[in-house]
Amino acid sequence: MNFTQPQYRSLVRGPFGWLLNACLVLAVVFLLCPIVIVTIISFSADAYLRFPPSGYSFRWYENFLSGDPSWMAASNKSFAAATLTAVVTVVLAIPTALALVRSRIRGKGWLELVMLAPLLISPMISAIALYGWIAAFGFVGTMAGLVAGHIVLALPYAILNVAISAKALDPRLEQAASSLGARNSQVFRRVTLPLLAPGIIAAGFFAFLTSFDDVIVSLFLSGREPTLQKRMWDEIRLEISPTVASASTLLIFLTIAVFLAIALVRRSSEKAS
């Protein structure tokens, strides 16, 4: 008899089993409902947001993709910002995480906490603080300013991800590599980097999404040419056309695709090591 084997086919049993099951079902419905509704509305034929739609069409997808050029411009800006954010964040996160994990300074616990503190602070507060700095240097409305703002949001999480991989990396592997004749740069490229890869890839994806999904910092910093999220925000405030729903649906499926990709990378790297 194997008692630890989960019974996949039945829900929770026991005296309060029905209650637990009901909560589970409600939670799933609650989480999925908005996605389902938005997806349905995105195929609406109506001229404004309404549920359920009176008819169905691709007109709002067409509008998003080719009708109103400001949507694609916003999308391109978001992609560029997110890609830059991901690259710069990862490049900063790798040495920072390694230093954080390997250093033996006193007060390291505090330093780690400070690094991760932005995770606990409301993005609105970060955005206001950033605005002051970025305005002072005259970077408001520039790509550099926007990316800098997104990096601040993304970096703590990226450091966390890389640090998890770095902690699991046995320093003896690097010692072995160098005793086998690898110079420091070769050790880094052939051993350290590949072994940090799962953390680095996750950090990159999360940084990308952080930038891509951000509204608040973009509200302050994106200037006259909005990011996609900012463009959606403007749309909701001013026009309320179902284009927002189409854009959202595309974003949702993009996000799901990214998360699947992360999961696949994780799994294949676990298999190898």
Partner: protein, 355 residues
Amino acid sequence: MTTSHVIELKSLSKTFGNVKAVSDISLDVADGSFTSFIGPSGSGKSTLLSMIAGFDQPTSGTIRLHGKDVSKLPSSERNIGMVFQNYALFPHLSVFENVAFPLRVRNMDARTLTSRVHEALESVGLKGFEARWPKQLSGGQQQRVALARAFVFGPEVLLMDEPLGALDKNLREHMQSEIKALQRRLAVSVIYVTHDQGEALAMSDNVVVMSDGRIQQVGAPAEVYRRPQSKFVAQFLGETNLLEYDLVSRGLSGPIGRLANGAAFVLPDNITDAASGTLSLRPEEIEFADPAESGCRHARIEETVFLGDCMRCRVDYQGLPLWVKLPATVMRSVPRVGQNVALHWNEASLVPLDD
């Protein structure tokens, strides 16, 4: 300057904070020899190896490799092969790529590289395992890959830090003879760390006994075992009886000593003039004689421990407890608890010790 020493350590010390992990070690290791460092946990064996490999910088002292001072060289430029206790195989590389690693970082051409890797894997009995991942190998197989990886690039010396510590007893003994055979075939110098004394005695040309970061004694296994210089070495390598004696006189037939139980006996000639001292007497050097014989030492068996190929008996030698180790041949007839026996030993087997 010609030198037949692969490694020369001069006044080597390493301090961590206020812990002296290694203090003032000087040692020459003969080229092509198999040298074992043995000592209790925390005696500085790994620290010493780390300094030779270049992972740790010595606090003071120098390390020479074939006469060349390498103390300041990074690990990658020392040309030393290292085998770790946990194997330290690269998990993201196949068996082939693990062994190829030292050749790739040296930019060896593909053809030579492939044949060298195959050759190395064949010599550790892992032909056909090239495409496997380290995770898919048993402990013994991983150890062989680590070994192949450490010698494939022709290092000047192989360092091994408790390479067999994680293996079970049978496999360990098997690997011992394989490593030994490989070392002879490659004619490479090996520095081996272990805290298994049997392993050190079985494999080595030279044994270095360490404690508290210092060398206690260096010598061939048989010599260190038979002629320990200190109580520590006598007790650490094998089992022994320590006999405290007072020097009674320096008679014509040699110096005479008296044990705590009052028994007098002839001491070995080479003892010091100190009024008292300690002797080591290995349990296997004591024999049971016929109690009827004259002038023998009477004792009573207090305890017997069956060990398979031999038996250990604790005897009461007129108030002095002694351990006696008997081979299986004697064992069948003799020892029973409570039995009176006579003890016999050769004067030459009494080894005077420093404290």
